[in-house]
C-alpha cells in the first residue's frame, strides 16, 4: 500500500480510538462533577457518620453541590470530622446545617446541606456547627425496645 494512504488510515484509526476514549470519559462517565477547580472546604463534625465514605456526594435540595473530601476522627472529643468540598458556585450561609442521609431505603449515604438565614456566607476552612448524625439502625431499635420496656413496666405499677 502507498505510504500516504497507510498513514491516512493509521491517522483515522488513532483519532477514532482517542475520540472513543473521550466519548467514554465525557458522555458515559461523570467527569464533569469530579473535577471542581473552584471550590471551598468546610468541616462538619458529626457524632456518628454511619456508612459515609469519602467521595460521597453533598446534596442540597437534591442537587449535587460537592463531595466528601476526607473523613477523620478527632480524638479530643471523639467526634468524626468530615471535610466537605463544595463548589464555589453554591455559597451557603454560615448557619447552614449538614445531616447524613440515605438515598432510598437501602441506597448509599450522602451529606444533605440545608441553607440557613445568616447574612454571611461560609468561607474556606469554616466549621459547620449544626449537624445531624446518621441514623444507626441498632440504636433506633435499642431505643424503641428500651422505651417499650419502660412503658410496660410503668404501666404495671399503676
Amino acid at each position: 500500500m502507498q505510504r500516504t494512504t497507510l498513514d491516512l488510515w493509521v491517522g483515522i484509526f488513532v483519532t477514532a480510538g482517542v475520540a472513543a476514549l473521550f466519548v467514554l470519559a465525557l458522555k458515559v462517565g461523570n467527569a464533569s462533577s469530579v473535577n471542581m477547580s473552584d471550590s471551598y472546604r468546610v468541616i462538619a463534625e458529626f457524632d456518628n457518620i454511619g456508612g459515609l465514605k469519602a467521595r460521597a456526594p453533598v446534596k442540597s435540595a437534591g442537587v449535587v453541590v460537592g463531595r466528601v473530601e476526607s473523613i477523620s476522627l478527632d480524638t479530643r472529643n471523639f467526634r468524626a470530622n468530615v471535610a466537605l468540598r463544595i463548589d464555589k458556585r453554591y455559597p451557603f450561609p454560615r448557619d447552614s446545617s449538614a445531616s447524613i442521609l440515605t438515598a432510598g431505603l437501602l441506597g448509599e449515604q450522602y451529606v444533605g446541606m440545608d441553607g440557613g438565614g445568616d447574612e454571611q456566607n461560609l468561607k474556606d476552612g469554616d466549621r459547620l456547627k449544626i449537624t445531624q448524625s446518621a441514623i444507626v439502625l441498632e440504636k433506633v431499635i435499642g431505643q424503641f425496645l428500651y422505651g417499650k420496656a419502660a412503658e410496660t413496666s410503668s404501666g404495671k405499677k399503676e
Binding site: V10, G17, A20, L24, V28, N30, V34
Partner: protein, 264 residues
C-alpha cells in the same frame, strides 16, 4: 520399581527445567525488545506500518463484535430489569459491563486471534526461512528492525481498539433499548452517567486494556521467535499463541479485577 520411580522424577525434572528455561528466555527476549526499541521509535514509520496491520485491519471485527455484544447486552438486560420496573437502569448495566470487563477482555481475545496469530506466523516464517539470520548477516538488528515495531504497534493499538469496542457496544445498547424498544433516552444516559465513574471504571478499564495489549503482543512475538523452524513448528506456535494469550487475558483480568474493584 525403583527404575520407574526415578523415570517419573526425571520426567518431572525435565518438564520443570524446560518451563523455567522458557520463562527465562521469554524474559530475556522481552528485555531485548524493550532495550532495542530506541531505533524503532526513532524510525517511527516502522511502528506505523505495524499500527496499520494490528490496529486498522482489526477495526472491522472489533466494531462489528462490539455492536453485537452491545445489542445482546441491551436486550438481555432489558428483559431482566423490566421485571423489577427499572428498565432505565439498562444503560448503567450495558456501560458498566462493557467499560469494566467486556470491552478490554473481548477486544483482547479478538486481538489475539486476529493480530497476535498473524504476528506469530510472520515471525515464525521469517525465522524458518532464515530471514532473521540474513538480517544479522547484513548487520541489521532484527529486534530493532522487525520485532520492536511489532511490539509497539500492538501495544499502542490495543487500548484504542478496546475503547472503540466499548463505545460501539454502548451505541448498540442504545440502539436496541432506546430506538427499538423505547426506553426513555434521557433516563438511559443520565442513569449511566451517574453511576459510571471516570477514575474507578473508565481509567481501570483503560489500564486493563494496556496490560492485555502488552501481554498478548509479548506472547505472540515470543512464540513466533521461539518456534521450531519447520512448517509444523510454526503452525503449533500459532495455536499456542491463541490459547496462551486467551488464558493469560482471562487470568490477568481476574487478578486486575480483584485489585481494582474489591476493597475500598
Amino acid at each position: 520399581m525403583l527404575n520407574a520411580l526415578s523415570h517419573g522424577f526425571r520426567v518431572v525434572g525435565r518438564r520443570s527445567i524446560n518451563a523455567v528455561w522458557r520463562m527465562g528466555s521469554a524474559a530475556r527476549f522481552m528485555g531485548l525488545v524493550l532495550l532495542r526499541s530506541g531505533p524503532s521509535l526513532r524510525r517511527f514509520h516502522l511502528t506505523i506500518d505495524e499500527l496499520h496491520f494490528a490496529g486498522v485491519l482489526s477495526l472491522i471485527i472489533i466494531i462489528v463484535s462490539g455492536l453485537f455484544v452491545g445489542l445482546v447486552l441491551g436486550l438481555q438486560g432489558y428483559e431482566t430489569l423490566k421485571r423489577y420496573g427499572s428498565a432505565e437502569a439498562v444503560g448503567t448495566l450495558v456501560a458498566l459491563a462493557l467499560v469494566r470487563e467486556l470491552g478490554p477482555v473481548v477486544a483482547a481475545l479478538l486481538f489475539a486471534s486476529r493480530a497476535g496469530s498473524a504476528m506469530t506466523a510472520e515471525l515464525g516464517i521469517m525465522k524458518s526461512t532464515e530471514q532473521l539470520s540474513a538480517m544479522e548477516m547484513m548487520a541489521v538488528d532484527p529486534f530493532a528492525r522487525v520485532i520492536s515495531p511489532m511490539f509497539w504497534g500492538g501495544f499502542l493499538s490495543m487500548p484504542l481498539l478496546a475503547a472503540i469496542f466499548s463505545v460501539m457496544g454502548i451505541f448498540g445498547g442504545y440502539l436496541i433499548t432506546v430506538v427499538i424498544i423505547g426506553v426513555d433516552s434521557g433516563a438511559f444516559w443520565s442513569q449511566m452517567q451517574s453511576s459510571v465513574d471516570l477514575r474507578n471504571d473508565i481509567m481501570n478499564g483503560v489500564i486493563k486494556s494496556v496490560v492485555f495489549g502488552a501481554a498478548v503482543t509479548a506472547i505472540a512475538l515470543f512464540e513466533g521467535y521461539d518456534a521450531p523452524p519447520t512448517a509444523e513448528g510454526v503452525s503449533h506456535a500459532v495455536t499456542r499463541t491463541v490459547v496462551t494469550s486467551a488464558l493469560a487475558v482471562l487470568a490477568l483480568d481476574f487478578v486486575l479485577t480483584a485489585f481494582m474493584f474489591t476493597g475500598v
